[in-house]
Structures are given as C-alpha cells and as structure tokens.
Amino acid sequence: MVGKNCFAIASDRRLGVQLQTVATDFQRVFKIHDRLYIGLSGLATDAQTMYQKLVFRHKLYQLREERDMKPQTFASLVSALLYEKRFGPFFCQPVIAGLGDNDEPFICTMDCLGAKELAKDFVVSGTASESLYGACESMYKPDMEPEELFETISQALLSSVDRDCLSGWGGYVLLVTPTEVQEKMLKGRMD
C-alpha cells in the first residue's frame, strides 16, 4: 500500500500444506535492498527459489552497475524471470514495493507468468486476494502518513485473512519511509 512518500508491505505468517499448518512464523516478505522489498505468495518452494534467483541477479547488478536497482527495473526483471518459465511456471505471485527516485513509492504485482500490474494505491496477492481487494478498496485513502498507513494496512490484512482458512496465524508489516524501516508483528486470530 502506498502512502505519502512511504509504503507498507504486509503478509500473513502461515506455512501450510493444504489443511495442515506446518509453521506460524514463515517469512514471505524479503529485502532486496534498503528501499526495495518483495513479497512472494503461492507455492513456498517456488517463493524460496525465486527469492534466491532474484538476490543473485541483484547482487550481480550491484557489482556491475555499482548501485542498487530501481524498483521499476526490478519489476521488469521479476517479470522476465517468470515468463522464461512460461510453459512450466513458478507458482508464485510476487508483490513488489520500493522507493524510487525522489522517494516516490512504487508498487506492483504480477501473476505467476509475469504479467505486471502497476497501481498507484495498493496491490494484493495470495489465496485471500479477493477479500484483500475489498478491504483495501474500502479502507484506503490517498496520501496517508506512515502511522495511519500502518493502521490501515494492518486492519485490511487481518480482516481479510480472517475470512480465508488458508491464510492467517498472525501478520507481519514492514513500513518503509525515506529515513527508516519499521517491522511489526501483528497479533490476529490464530486459527
């Protein structure tokens, strides 16, 4: 979700195999660099593999270009990597959020084949995506300050995952402003 010169990215914490919950502390949001984060929903093994490939490519980019990747460039990289496997895809749906030039927040999401969807307000993915669209649409306001943005995204996440049996077991919110990064765990319904 985008705020005023800041963004927040949130995920639930469940690792499950269909009906069985295996862990309640699974990390789904990963750091690429200080101002760029990616959340990967979908098949956990593909999310882990994609993350390792992306970190590898970004580190090479840093060595060659001697700077961090811009969010727009990174989104194109993710899209290209996913489309390479067009006929045997990685079953993960990324959500990319970063601060670009002039601290302009950038967010986008993709399907598992790399079809980019840019947005100015919020992007969602995962099993609870329909609920998330509804919750975010009703709770979102443009140009929110960081504290208000954190409240909004937390409420949207918790209320959506409570309606989805495969999501939940707590929440994790990362709030990024030009000066600092805040990580917070959310206490939700543990079921």
């Binding site: 069985q20 295996v22 699974f26 098949l43 093994t45 882990q48």
Partner: protein
C-alpha cells in the same frame, strides 16, 4: 503409514521415525532404520518412496562427508539444510524425489536446530515437526505439551506419548519406532520402541 517426527530441546534435538518397510499390503521388515546419521553431529530423518529415500539420503550423506574431506571442517546444519533443499529443488522439475526430510543438528555456538524440508523443497526452521499420517496426531500432541528448552526426560516422555497416540489411533499403525538424539556429544541412537520383535535369522 510412514511417520517421522522430531523436536528441539535444551541443548539437543530428537528425531524419531517408524521402522516398517512396507510394499502395498506386505510388511517386508519392521526394523528399517529411517533416521540416518549424516555426520558426527547431524541426523536426517526421511520418509517417502523407499528407493528415493535411501538413494537421496545416501547422496546427501556422501556430499556432506566430501565437503568435510575437501575443506577440513564440517558443514553447519543450516548449510546442510540449504544444500539438501537445493538438490530437491533442482530435481523437482526434472525427476523429482518423493522424500520428506527432518534434518536435526547441533552446531557449536548455535546449539541444536531442526529443519523441515518437504518433498517439493519447502524449507523452514522449526522447533517441532512431523511428516506422514502420524503427523495429524503428533503435531497436536506437541502443540499441547511442547515448551521451549525441554529436558531430555521431558522430551522422551513427549515422544513416547506421540508414539502411543499413533499406535492407538492410526489404522495401519507401524509397530516399531527408532529414536535418535543429537547434542553436543554427537548424534547417536537413543532407543527403540518395539511392540513386534523381528525374529533373529539363524545363520545357515
């Protein structure tokens, strides 16, 4: 069917597994060891397709030993877990292994740790975990009775409760289990829990 489960206690980790080798309705043997000692301070409990299980776990064991011979120092548990996940992930879209793995190890300075790696290479560090039909019973028992930093006696009591639960409630319950432990003194067999003793084969 096949059950592998384990937990991390205070300064140690335990992995227990059933010991039946089954082919459709026939039990080939009831003393098949499914928890492999990878090296001095690592245990690998595996369940799944029998051929894949033996093949893959031996492959991991040999590679862990190779690293030690080449570099003079053993791999850490985290590195071993990531290596195992990498092998499973690479094979996943070519010729996948159907093996679920619980990797437990003790590292100096870090202490005991346990990793859950399922057959599609999902890896996660856990304190307690289980695979197979037995997991439905074991995970609930452990959710209720496990707490961090358990002593060995408490942990074995919990493992025994899980085994009793599996024997009572699972329709094709495996009769025998092996329990192995890894702590700062190394990885070793702790006990067997047998309710059917295999007859000794007399030498011809």
């Amino acid at each position: 069917m096949e059950c592998v489960f384990g937990l991390v206690g205070k300064g140690f980790a335990i992995v227990a597994a059933d010991t039946s080798a089954v082919h459709s309705i026939l039990v080939h043997k009831s003393n098949e060891d499914k928890v492999m000692v990878l090296d001095s301070h690592k245990l690998l409990g595996a369940s799944g397709e029998p051929g894949d299980r033996v093949q893959f776990t031996e492959y991991i064991q040999k590679n862990v030993h190779l690293y030690q011979f080449r570099n003079g120092i053993p791999l850490t548990t985290a590195a071993t877990a990531n290596f195992t996940r990498g092998e499973l992930a690479t094979a996943l879209r070519k010729n996948p292994y159907s093996v679920n793995i619980l990797l437990a190890g003790y590292d100096k300075g870090v202490g005991p740790s346990m990793y859950y790696i399922d057959y599609i290479a999902t890896m996660h560090k856990i304190e307690k975990g289980a695979f197979g039909y037995g997991s439905y019973f074991c995970l609930s028992m452990m959710d209720r009775l496990y707490h961090p930093d358990m002593s060995i006696e408490e942990a074995i009591e919990l493992i025994d409760k899980c085994i009793i639960e599996i024997r009572t409630r699972l329709v094709v319950a495996p009769p025998n289990f092996v329990i192995k432990i890894v702590d700062q003194d190394g990885a070793r067999e702790y006990a067997w829990r047998e309710s059917i003793k295999s007859p000794d084969v007399s030498m011809a």
